[in-house]
Subunit: 428 residues, 2 copies
């Protein structure tokens, strides 16, 4: 029994083009295995004259996305425009017209996800978004379905390939941050303005989405503490390595005492931890559950083909559910009780450039002590008339560490506060 | 909107007990997040007097499993008896009575899966089995759903925790095979009769199931070439390490020229490959797809709690689908065109103990040459009046290598044929 499901596509850039090609190539195999024939009937683009994949019937092209979401010959809508507006209105219009939607739009989900989920629930139609986080890695479906009953304690993800590539180059080749960023830009991994990646905001949007699904609460990008990798130096990485750690930018969502904490920051990960071996532009999400124990889902977190694979998986899901006359399981999101990052308790790595003169160490140690931040180990390296002090603290409260940093900045002898890294415990 | 879904359980050993406890603890949270309340209404056991988890209402116990699968107050059946019969008949009876079934029974699926899937399709009810492979790792659902449209080229899995534990101890502590096996038995990872694990048959059943789902064809354990780890020595592992490899027992399913090859054997995995860092009793499945690229799904492959987590995920899926009045997507299995292991083309590692006298190397090299097996590198180590010869071949055909082994066995100077390892290419 085959049923044709007609697909309307919003946006046909790299990812959209890859989806069109993949679908054309696999349509017969998919039909044989699933009984579903996916046909692209409308594609909204901005420029009708641009080159498109040879598999695309140009007669389906239109410059009017509104016509796609309301068309009688479109059963399911895929959105890969990647902007907030008009994507938001278009997806709502599609849902209101009874069409399930598949989207890769992480910004939209991380800022207006709660409202969009409500619109999907009201319409009784699917809103699927596997492609929004971790490219082709199955993350959202396992969290929504396989782990629907699992008491998840924590999720830690390497969810930004650009920064993982930069940190890998710094770790393995001893590159400086600037050189590694330049290489990432040359290879097309980083944008000319890399702020969204290196500032941790792209990872922040993704971890907001993961937190929402894993914990069943509405978390938006505004709720995420975001700290990037721009201050990480070769010294920090070398020091971490000597202690048996690798520096990674992690997106972390955790449940502590009934509160949900969501944050992005560089961290020292034990070299034996599965996340430590995630190299280059690969992504991985590490999940700790009370029953399931430790899981890691690893793969290509970006790229046109992996992303189109995730879109295709969602399309088949939506098509199946539509044929069944409804929607799959939708997340029920309650209001999150958020945990401030100030309440985080962690070990910290702290690097300071200070004047190399008597009394400086005493002054610095005094500031730490004043805020109850206790030192586990310290190392001093000479740098001409400066010295670099590197501390690993015992477990301390984030708010106390931040106060410590502010006081250290005002010390005359402190020239520069370098990297601050939170240490991921090996015990978990 | 809450609906109660009544669960009948067949078998209440370690895993069943863990499921009962997990369900009792999480029932409220699950209901809040999914709108589904799971209630255990019947549990079939062999011995009514055995201790059971305190959360279990003993009034639901029965020694009659047939009464469970046909009971009016059972909506979904979970089978964790772990034997072929009567599990097979019970699951068929449950499906015939309109009840979806959830099972962890890998033997049943790997030997009679095709018939059981047909029974589920005929009944229009779910047959779910996430717990049968890889414990709590979401594997089956991502393969069935997320990757339903993905052209999968190859799956390589570390799917037996016992052998991975043994190989890890041999690699990291220099333990002998015998000592590592004894330790695994002491820790409860290995059975008193370890044949199913160390002979590769447990992994064979699991990779048969994975191959069926990934490629949409019926593959049974009989179709799987199974070779275990009993011949692996510390020498093999040390030699592999020196060449930059780690020895792992892999279950491999691949599509080559329209044929499906499925095999289990020890292999040399490049140390930089994600599978190389899967240590101790952890499991992982590495998936190569044309579109999605490389994926790895990692976690606890066994244990009562991880397994019960997988069962719970399936139960919620079955409950949701039942509420929708039907079943989720079932695999459509066509008949597999199987590729004989004889046609495998690989590099090989081969270790031989030979008499240390003139002419032996020439004789051995002559046998390899006679079968067109060409040598990439060779190393000779003295062992008193014996010598050990270790070869890495260029890419050769399995059938030729097997003929080579038979001829080598008949050479007078060859005392023992040691480890044979296939080398996993780094190039993919």
């Amino acid at each position: 029994m085959t049923s044709a499901v007609r697909v309307g596509v919003l946006g046909c850039g790299n990812v959209g083009g890859a989806l069109v090609s993949l679908l054309a190539r696999e349509a017969n195999a998919i039909e044989a295995r699933t009984g579903i024939r996916l046909e692209i009937t409308r594609v909204a683009v901005r420029d009708l004259d641009k080159p498109r994949p040879p598999e695309l019937n140009r007669a389906v092209l239109t410059t009017d996305p509104n016509a796609v979401v309301t068309a009688d010959d479109v059963d399911v809508v895929v959105e890969i425009m990647g902007v907030l507006d008009p994507a938001d209105e278009l997806l709502r219009a599609a849902l209101a017209a009874g069409k399930p939607v598949v989207t890769a739009n992480k910004e939209l989900l991380a800022t207006r996800g709660v409202d969009l989920f409500a619109a999907a629930a009201a319409a009784g139609r699917d809103l699927l978004f596997e492609a929004a986080v971790g490219g082709g890695i199955p993350l959202i479906r396992p969290l929504r379905e396989s782990l629907a009953g699992e008491p998840i304690a924590r999720i830690m993800g390497i969810v930004n390939g650009t920064t993982n590539f930069i940190l890998t180059r710094m770790t393995e080749d001893g590159a400086t941050y600037e050189d590694a960023l330049t290489e990432a830009q040359r290879l097309g991994y980083a944008e000319p303005d890399p702020t969204a990646d290196v500032g941790g905001f792209d990872a922040g949007a993704k971890v907001a989405i993961l937190a929402s699904i894993a914990f069943g609460v509405g978390v938006s990008l505004d709720d995420v503490y975001c700290e990037g990798i721009t201050k990480i130096t070769a010294t920090d990485i070398a020091f971490a390595r000597r202690l048996g750690y690798v520096v990674k930018l992690l997106g972390i969502a955790e449940q502590v005492d009934g509160q949900i904490g969501v944050r992005v920051h560089p961290a020292m990960v034990p070299a034996t931890h599965p996340l430590a071996s995630v190299r280059d532009s690969f992504n991985a999400v590490f999940i700790e559950g009370d029953a399931v124990g430790e899981l890691m889902l690893y793969g290509r977190g970006a790229g046109a083909m992996p992303t189109s694979s995730a879109l295709l998986g969602d399309l088949l899901d939506a098509a199946h559910n539509l044929r069944q006359g409804g929607a799959g399981r939708a997340p029920v999101l309650s209001t999150a009780k958020l945990r401030s990052v100030d309440d985080l308790r962690s070990q910290y790595y702290l690097a300071l450039d200070v004047a190399d003169r008597p009394g400086v160490l005493a002054a610095v140690a005094g500031v730490l002590g004043n805020h109850g931040v206790s030192i586990q180990s310290m190392e001093q390296q000479g740098l001409g008339d400066e010295a670099r002090l590197v501390f690993i603290t015992h477990v301390a409260r984030e708010a106390d560490v931040q106060k410590t940093l502010r006081d250290l900045e005002s010390l005359d002898a402190v020239r520069k506060i370098g990297g601050l890294l939170r240490v991921i415990g090996d015990e978990k």
